[in-house]
């Protein structure tokens, strides 16, 4: 598969490129699991308050927009697909295709981000920012609903921060791919970046039903 690349030398601490890629992947998985624990803590907090204030939370969840949530989910799923395709392309040493697919990923990520900003702006415009100016129509459970929106902003906000980091990381690998720094024989940083982006996607796969879709049929457990 190597099309005229010069011999690939491993970094000084490794015996072979093979070993280097294996270690990089292993290290990236450890980092991803660490990241997962961050969201684990956030979901724990969210679950605790659901348990404490089920009615108020169910009511408050109706203020989230299913359409936004669904569109954002689809956008992220497609962006994950383009990353997977890009890695496949790179493994086949089709570097321009890989770079192009990463470009599409960035575009999709930006679409997600813009949607997020619009959604935030709407929520803030409706007085649902859970701070001093919080205005909530369901008066008696306003305190508890405020907690719901706190977690909504904290969870989606933390996710958005990860999304931005992922976008930046992808931005940093595109040029080296085109230049040939990364290629079919050595692309560990690209693979790590891809894994990171997939994690951002997986987290959202859980955020979507657990925030946007709760209590839609009325009466939940």
């Amino acid at each position: 598969m190597s099309h005229g690349h010069k011999g690939v030398a491993p970094a000084h601490q490794f015996e072979s490129v093979e070993q280097q890629q294996r270690v990089a992947r292993f290290g990236m998985w450890m980092f991803l699991i660490s990241e997962t624990m961050i969201f684990g803590a956030l979901f724990t907090g969210y679950a605790v308050y659901w348990t404490l204030y089920p009615e108020a939370f169910q009511e408050a969840a109706q203020f989230l927009d299913v359409t936004y949530g669904t569109v954002m989910t689809v956008v992220l799923l497609v962006s994950s697909t383009t990353v997977a395709l890009a890695i496949t392309a790179l493994e086949g040493d089709r570097r321009r295709l890989a770079a192009g697919l990463f470009g599409v990923t960035i575009a999709l990520g930006l679409v997600f981000f813009v949607l997020k900003i619009i959604e935030y702006a709407e929520k803030i415009g409706d007085g649902l920012l859970p701070t001093r100016g919080f205005e909530y129509p369901g008066a008696e459970s306003a305190d508890q609903a405020q907690v719901f929106f706190s977690w909504y902003f904290v969870i989606t906000g933390t996710h958005a921060v990860h999304l931005i980091v992922g976008l930046a990381a992808i931005g940093f690998v595109i040029w080296p791919i085109l230049r040939g720094t990364y290629h079919a024989k050595y692309f560990s940083p690209v693979e790590g970046t891809g894994l990171y982006w997939h994690l951002v996607d997986v987290i959202w796969i859980f955020v979507f039903p657990l925030l946007y879709l709760m209590g839609r049929a009325g009466g939940m457990g």
Partner: protein, 542 residues
């Protein structure tokens, strides 16, 4: 091995080594050599230890009298917060993994460097950023929440630099995640040919267990503290009951990290003691698989017991009883460790160099700390002693008696390897004994104070507790001096110590097969392991 001044500075260290790889500041600050990064950590940790130690001395001086004498109430609160934050997050958590883990793990597995050298350097810079924030807080007027940052005090009521403090801890947290990640990746993938899992030194096993905790628990603390900062900065309701929140949730998330964090501090010391005991008893550690398994078991079990910090917090009675039961289980692998060390001594050839004295001291203090841990795990007794000096004494036996004795033991054991010089042995032995006695005088009275009911974090206290406090403060002065002695003679040895040679203790392990100090690439050529671990008895090669 007597201390001697007939030194020949040139002897034995003529060859190139990592210390001579460059003398410029740049060559240190941009290094990716794991050994140099270890030295960077050693220096910065020592500075932080001195800052945290100075705070401890002030605290104990204040407590000599039951009245407010030296500092104001706020001043006292800031001092114990500073002491706790610095000692835990900026000294004990990074201590052995960042200094000795960094220096030794690649050497023990026969590798040229850590798996991710640049991330390793980044980890030190993150640590320094956190530490500088910590120092900035002192300059800027302090923080008074206690190292536990309990809400809603930290998120709403305190009017000190809480956000800066949690930012420092947050950043330091990622520093330790990077270190842990590097350690696991290095051990997993970079072992020398022939070095199977059953041949790893127990120090390596203990750091694997430590890294497991670091990787899985630290992120939870990081996000929890970030939430406190967010709540404080923006007023959105997360933990503050005034805004609909639940402060007990904070405690759960906090202790999910901070209890396992105790094992982050103690597990590496358990590994160090195994190395030292094997070396100075000239025997393979008895029950090696059980010792390795016990480290992993402590790490895993350590995740199931955090609720014993919350028996009187308003946690449910049922959860309390379950947490109590699980807490007891940790005692089993801890006991396995102690008994296997003793069995290792049996029919050994025991000698009493300084590292071995620290190892003996460690075992004694760890036994007391561990057994008093049973008191705190016993839920009905815990109701009485929770948040009293009993708990303060207990965790100092584990974290200072245990973790710090292990750190000092490691420092003395591997100092000749790291610096290529021997320290004055007799002086070092006396200071080890001095530290041990000073420690017990400081902290044993606190068990008694605690059961009598003296709450912790008290600036002034009823007169009847004064006598025992005077003993404790007296011990603290001894202990403080005891810690200064190694700083002095180890520094002295850098210039005047005798050259150590590759293996002054006659120890096994790959790190002793190369020069002291080691060359930049650690080994002249990749070692090949053909012997079982701790092969002190010269068994047949396999």
């Amino acid at each position: 091995m007597d201390d001697t001044r007939e030194t020949d500075p040139a002897e034995g260290d003529a060859g190139p080594n990592y210390l001579r790889a460059g003398y410029s500041i740049r060559s240190w600050l941009l290094t990716t050599d794991h050994k140099r990064i270890a030295i960077l950590y050693l220096v910065s940790l020592t500075v932080m230890f001195l800052v945290g130690g100075a705070a401890a001395v002030l605290l104990r001086l204040e407590l000599i009298s039951s009245e407010a004498s030296l500092v104001s109430g706020d001043g006292y609160n800031k001092l114990f917060t500073l002491h706790g934050v610095i000692m835990i997050f900026f000294f004990l958590v990074p201590s052995i993994p960042a200094v000795f883990g960094n220096f030794l793990i690649p050497m023990m597995v026969g590798a040229r460097d850590m798996a991710f050298p640049r991330i390793n350097l980044a980890s030190w810079y993150l640590y320094m950023t956190g530490a500088i924030l910590g120092i900035a807080i002192i300059v800027g007027g302090g923080v008074d929440t206690g190292w536990t940052f309990y809400t809603p005090y930290s998120s709403t009521y305190a009017n000190t630099h809480v956000i800066l403090a949690v930012a420092g801890v947050f950043i330091a947290g990622f520093s330790s995640i990077f270190t842990g990640l590097n350690i696991v990746a290095t051990v997993y993938a970079m072992r020398a040919p022939g070095l199977g899992w059953g041949r790893l030194p127990l120090f390596v096993w203990s750091l694997l267990a430590t890294s497991l905790i670091i990787l899985l628990a630290t992120p939870v603390l990081a996000i929890t503290l970030a939430l406190v900062a967010v709540e404080r900065a923006t007023g959105i309701g997360i933990f503050d009951p005034g805004l609909g929140g639940d402060p007990v949730l904070f405690q759960h998330l906090f202790w999910f990290y901070s209890h396992p964090a105790v094992y982050i501090m103690i597990l590496p010391s358990l590994g160090v003691v195994s190395e030292i005991v094997a070396c100075f008893a000239r025997k393979r550690i008895y029950g090696y698989p059980f010792m390795a398994g016990a480290s992993i078991a402590i790490a895993i079990l350590g995740f199931f017991v955090w609720g014993h910090h919350m028996f009187v917090s308003g946690q449910s009675v049922y959860a309390g009883i379950v947490f109590s039961f699980l807490s007891f289980l940790v005692a089993v692998p801890s006991a396995v460790k102690v008994f296997n060390w003793i069995a290792t001594l049996h029919r050994g050839q025991i000698s009493f160099e300084t590292p071995m004295l620290y190892a003996f001291g460690f075992i004694g203090l760890f036994v007391v700390g561990g057994l008093t841990g049973l008191f705190t795990a016993t839920i009905a007794v815990n109701v009485h002693i929770h948040d009293t000096y009993f708990v303060v004494a207990h965790f100092h036996y584990i974290m200072v008696g245990g973790a710090l004795m292990g750190y000092l033991g490691a420092l003395h054991f591997w100092w000749p390897k790291i610096m290529g010089r021997l320290y004055p042995e007799r002086l070092a032995r006396w200071s080890a004994i001095f530290v041990f006695l000073g420690f017990n005088l400081t902290f044993f009275p606190q068990f008694l104070l605690g059961y009598q009911g003296m709450p912790r974090r008290y600036h002034v206290y009823p007169q009847e507790f004064e006598l025992l406090n005077v003993f404790s403060s007296g011990g603290a002065i001894f202990l403080g001096l005891g810690y200064l002695l190694p700083a002095i003679y180890l520094t002295w040895s850098l210039k005047y110590g005798r050259a150590a040679g590759p293996n002054p203790w006659g120890a096994t392990g790959l790190e002793w097969t190369t020069a002291s100090p080691p060359p930049s690439e650690n080994f002249a050529r990749t070692p090949r392991v053909t012997e079982p671990v701790y092969n002190y008895t010269g068994e047949r090669q396999s």
